[in-house]
């Protein structure tokens, strides 16, 4: 079970959280919704990075806040968590 550092509450066990998948995916504005192909990119296509991946997490059984995390998917180690709207911290290897 992961130990997740909620930026609002501190380190808590994974069962308090819900993972919301890849972060920083821009929802296309209606006028930018172009063709089905590019909409499918937004809807379905993911980085699925093997390495450092930016994710959304929700502290559902806690403060109910969504936040971002950088986690290495090879080791499951978190490199950082940060609030929505904040810039991801610079980490070696997080450029993906």
């Amino acid at each position: 079970m992961l130990l997740i550092d909620c930026p609002y509450c501190g380190a808590r066990p994974e069962i308090e959280f819900r993972c919301g998948g890849e972060a920083h995916i821009t929802r296309p504005a209606p006028e930018a919704a172009r063709d089905d192909e590019s909409f499918a990119q937004f809807l379905y296509f993911r980085r699925n990075t093997k390495g450092m991946l930016a994710e959304n997490w929700w502290h559902v059984h806690g403060c109910q806040r969504w936040f971002h995390a950088l986690r290495d998917t090879q080791t499951d180690a978190f490199a950082a968590t940060y609030k929505i709207g904040a810039t991801p911290p610079d980490l070696p290897g997080s450029a993906s």
Binding site: I15, D35, L43, Y44, R46, N48, K50, T73, T75, D76
Partner: protein, 416 residues
Amino acid sequence: MRFSFLALLRQAFHPDVPWTRQWRDPEPKSAYDAVIVGGGGHGLATAFYLASQHGLTNIAVLEKGWIGGGNTGRNTTIIRSNYLFPESAALYDHSLKLFEGLSQALNYNVMFSPRGVLMLAHNHHDIISLKRHVYANRLSGIDNQYISAKAAKAFCPPLNISPRIRYPVLGAALQRRGGVARHDAVAWGFARAADALGVDIIQNCEVTGLMRDAGGAVRGIETTRGAISTPKVGVVAAGHSSVVLERFGLRMPLESFPLQALVSEPVKPIVPCVVMSNTIHAYISQSDKGELVIGAGTDQYVSYSQQGGQHVTAQTLEAICELFPQFGRMRMLRNWGGIVDVTPDRSPIIGKTPIEGLFVNCGWGTGGFKATPGSGHVFAHTMATGAPHPINAPFGLERFASGRLIDEAAAAAVAH
């Protein structure tokens, strides 16, 4: 050397004449007619059918580690074809039929054991869902029947149908042709048979890049053991498919999650069939060795660590102890994780890619083992002819843009 009881006898009397190798350990050649990336069951099956059905024998299977070492050797070996949508049912039943004659076709006993698959209903929604599957299967000519809880118990005597448990068993769907097989043997059997037809199985060989010609079509592949020219590449890399394809510049509608399974210590025969409960997440059968083979759910996050959380296995064992309270004193012997590549509609992707000469077969999620021969068969057709087999035509990558998904997960969905 052909395997048979006589061969075993001959070996018994001449122990100093070793068995011949089941497959060679060749050096990669500089060129092949086709290259398959991924030496799991699906990749090896593809190679076998390319060689046996399409006469393509100058081909190679490249495996990063050892063959059958990924999800092929990590799953709970359940085989069934009672899927809802006709497209899925056709694909999985095609595979089930191949399984029925696979030992003979490969001259390798894969121990396919059609002992029956019971899927349990625990609430009204489950009952409707199972009946919908049963009736849909009837239209497709696939055996599956809805039976009462009592009949389920008669079929699987250790099952607890007491109304006292939190979610009592209300009924079940039974596919008698479903069952299990020996997972490693499926990989090895395909490997041996493909090797005998001339296919090069190259282990410890990781693919690092794709070579393309001026028109953008596939020209070859770069590997940790050198460059290989080939006009056709098929990526069958399960949990790592998107990693390989990213190296080729393609992003996929895939996410890779940990999926755990476990076995108990071996005991004498007690569970005569496969029992599955999607509602409380319990999947159990008993191997021929006697171990109870139990599948857990996926963890919630993308991971390549092949390790999941203890709470996930614990939840599954809670469900097992509800359905089989006599197993409270059975013990977990081994617990492991695989990496399952999941698509948005939980159906696989089998077909062409935007790059000419590059094909993919991935996205099998938590249920790919059962499809091994069928998947290899239709993918071989696709790679050989350049066009999908009618069975895998609906499973192309295009469906994500059009929205014509084959959404087994949504259809089985969620209680109201």
